[in-house]
């Protein structure tokens, strides 16, 4: 009852949006599709939700073929597009009611499924959807996508443009939905959200870079990685870039994630070099790779 994708390709005029994509999402899995804008995430979602034909390859969702059995898929999946796509001139309650009705159900019938989410926006149920905040819009959209108790849920960048607190709440909700037996495919450009998935696929330029559990992905990071910090971030990055042994340098919050090209790297050497560059308060310590580091390494 999961999703199975094999050798899917899709091109627009002269852009190859997806190139020979294959992976499976197991039933009841929370699967993340991680990649930057333009990686092909939305195209893949649209193929799986039967909105686009693949140029090549086949895919099944909940056991149904995305081309031949599109009608069955449309009855059995919930889809939340990347752009807020509810009726802005309808109230929260009217929107939810409408989507319940067109799927042949009622709010009461599946209330327990959306309860956790809906209670948070229920106080605003008479407000027009267009007047809701970003986080509340997403909660409403999720409620609408869930109201017919779908077997598979497709969420295309559900947390883009949502504040950090709401994002965290949103992912907690997804975890709870997963416990209710729903298979979830979610895409996000935020690497920190990847760690919350059971498995993730890293995607860039229409190609899958790696598929694994977030832990395994991080574990397979090939090099020791160091947090480097100093009094002057800008100068630090410039100095590191000039350092002849650098392998990768990525700013990461208050630190710079640094890897060295040598196998016998000694942080003290680097410290000396940086001090010679007139930097002070230098800290260098080994840290654990994140999915973002892996992504950057793979995308190199």
């Amino acid at each position: 009852m999961g999703i199975s994708i094999s050798n899917i390709s899709k091109s627009y005029k002269n852009v190859k949006a997806l190139q020979n994509i294959s992976f499976d999402v197991k039933p009841n899995e929370l699967f993340g599709l991680i990649g930057p804008d333009g990686a092909g995430k939305t195209t893949l979602f649209r193929i799986l939700t039967t909105l686009l034909f693949p140029d090549q390859g086949t895919a099944t969702v909940a056991g149904f073929d995305v081309v031949g059995d599109y009608k069955e898929i449309r009855k059995n999946v919930g889809y939340m597009p990347g752009r807020f796509s509810l009726y802005q001139d309808l109230t929260v309650e009217e929107n939810l009611n409408f989507f319940a009705t067109i799927f042949g159900t009622t709010i009461d019938e599946n209330y327990d499924l959306i309860k956790d989410i809906y209670v948070q926006i229920e106080p605003f149920k008479d407000r027009r959807a267009g007047k809701l905040s970003g986080g509340m819009k997403q909660k409403l959209a999720l409620s609408c996508a869930l109201i017919h108790k779908p077997k598979v849920l497709f969420l295309d960048e559900p947390t883009t443009g949502v504040d950090p607190v709401s994002r965290k709440e949103f992912w907690e909700m997804l975890k709870r939905l997963q416990q209710k037996g729903i298979t979830i495919l979610v895409s996000t450009p935020y690497m920190d959200e990847a760690a919350l998935c059971d498995r993730v696929a890293l995607i860039q330029d229409g190609k899958i870079l790696q598929i694994d559990t977030p832990k395994a992905i991080v574990k397979h990071y090939p090099k020791p990685i160091y947090n480097v910090r100093s009094n002057n971030m800008y100068q630090l990055i410039r100095s590191l870039k000039d350092y002849e042994f650098n392998h990768s340098i990525y700013p990461f919050g208050e630190f710079v994630h640094y890897t060295d090209s040598r196998t016998d790297f000694n942080p003290k050497e680097l410290q000396k070099y940086l001090e010679a560059q007139n930097l002070s308060d230098i800290e260098i310590e080994q840290t654990e790779a994140t999915i973002e580091d892996t992504f950057m390494e793979l995308a190199k």
Partner: protein, 368 residues
């Protein structure tokens, strides 16, 4: 069925919450019918004229009185010199000047012939023409009265009778035309906009990924507008009956049925437009340019089709509005029944079926 009703309910929410479309729906018909009925008219009333009477005898006085007594003219001023004619026109004070020759009355009796010059301001040719005709009519009437005791041998007496609109009221011509334009625009434009709005806002994406079938979406979109257009048609007919005294000679029931048919034709066109346009803007432009212009120019509403070049006459046949105007005029003015308009009705019906079939075929069940 419940899904369907839910969908229609949603459509009504959209319509009633969008002030702009509500205004187009109900404001435009009323404004247009009043505008066409009152302002844009070929009739003349109380036209200001000036009179230059070189004769000043009983005859001219009688004629002047007759003219003054008619509701068409009001005599604004009497001028005394030929030179004043140009200046009153230039000032725009009058639309026409009547110039009686010297010894008008005497000439009429002596020579059986007298001359009056009718000078009109032809910057507006239609009005000038009408003024001339009206003055002529008054003069002829006067002549008849003078000659009533005399019999002249060999005389052709044309007896003209304008049937169906004896008073040549322009409102009789405008009402069917305006009704056609409004029903067409409201139905076609509003449906095409409401369908493309779903595309533009991305809600179509969600509707597609739902068990709703394409025809349910289309019919669900159309039904509210059928309902509103019928209200519109009723408003227009009421306005024309009660404000402009437009007669409806034929059966109101038949008129209603034919209107519903034409509304459905227009809605089908609207759906077709929505399948080929991606944004509300495009849909609106196509509706306005592609429907309004042909309806005004080629439907026989303003310009008679029979006097168009052959090519345009042929093109006019594919315009649904042409057939509906023929039907409307037949029912409202001639009072005929179905046996005289079945052909036009059948053509409209055929077009409707064609448009619906085409749009169902073109309606995309996917995004591409």
């Amino acid at each position: 069925m419940k899904r369907f009703i839910g969908f229609i309910k949603k459509e009504f929410y959209h319509i009633f919450r969008d002030r702009r479309s509500l205004f187009i729906l109900f404001g435009m018909p009323i404004a247009q019918i009043l505008l066409f009925g009152f302002a844009i008219t070929n009739e003349i009333n109380n036209v200001d004229i000036a009179i230059l009477d070189h004769s000043k005898d009983n005859t001219t006085e009688e004629i002047i009185n007759k003219i003054a007594a008619s509701k068409y003219f009001s005599i604004k001023q009497m001028i005394t010199r030929e030179a004043d004619i140009a200046s009153v026109f230039q000032k725009g004070q009058v639309k026409a000047v009547l110039n009686f020759e010297k010894d008008f009355g005497r000439n009429l009796v002596k020579d059986h012939k007298a001359t009056i010059q009718i000078i009109t301001d032809a910057t507006d040719p239609n009005t000038a023409n009408t003024i001339t005709n009206y003055v002529n009519a008054i003069l002829q009437q006067y002549q008849k009265e003078l000659n009533k005791d005399i019999t002249i041998a060999y005389q052709i007496m044309p007896q003209t009778r304008m049937v169906y609109n004896p008073e040549l009221k322009s409102v009789y011509m405008f009402v069917p035309g305006v009704m056609t334009i409004i029903l067409m625009l409201v139905s076609a434009m509003m449906t095409s906009i409401s369908i493309t709005r779903e595309k533009e806002l991305g809600t179509m994406e969600i509707l597609l990924v739902s068990p709703l079938k394409p025809f349910q979406v289309i019919i669900g979109k159309v039904i509210p507008y059928i309902f509103l257009s019928i209200i519109n048609a009723v408003v227009i007919v009421m306005l024309s009956i009660f404000i402009f005294n437009m007669p409806v000679q034929g059966s109101l029931f038949l008129l209603g049925l034919e209107s519903v048919l034409f509304i459905i034709t227009s809605l089908a066109l609207g759906i077709l437009i929505s399948t080929i346009s991606a944004t509300q803007q495009t849909a609106m432009m196509i509706s306005l340019m592609g429907l309004m212009l042909p309806v005004i120019l080629l439907s026989g509403f303003i310009f008679p089709i029979s006097s168009m070049p052959m090519l345009l006459q042929i093109i006019s046949n594919i315009i649904p509005a042409k057939w509906f105007i023929i039907i409307l005029k037949a029912i409202m003015l001639k009072g005929v029944g179905m046996q005289f308009i079945w052909k036009e009705t059948l053509i409209l019906l055929g077009m409707t079926v064609f448009f619906i079939a085409l749009s169902v075929k073109k309606y995309k069940i996917r995004l591409e």
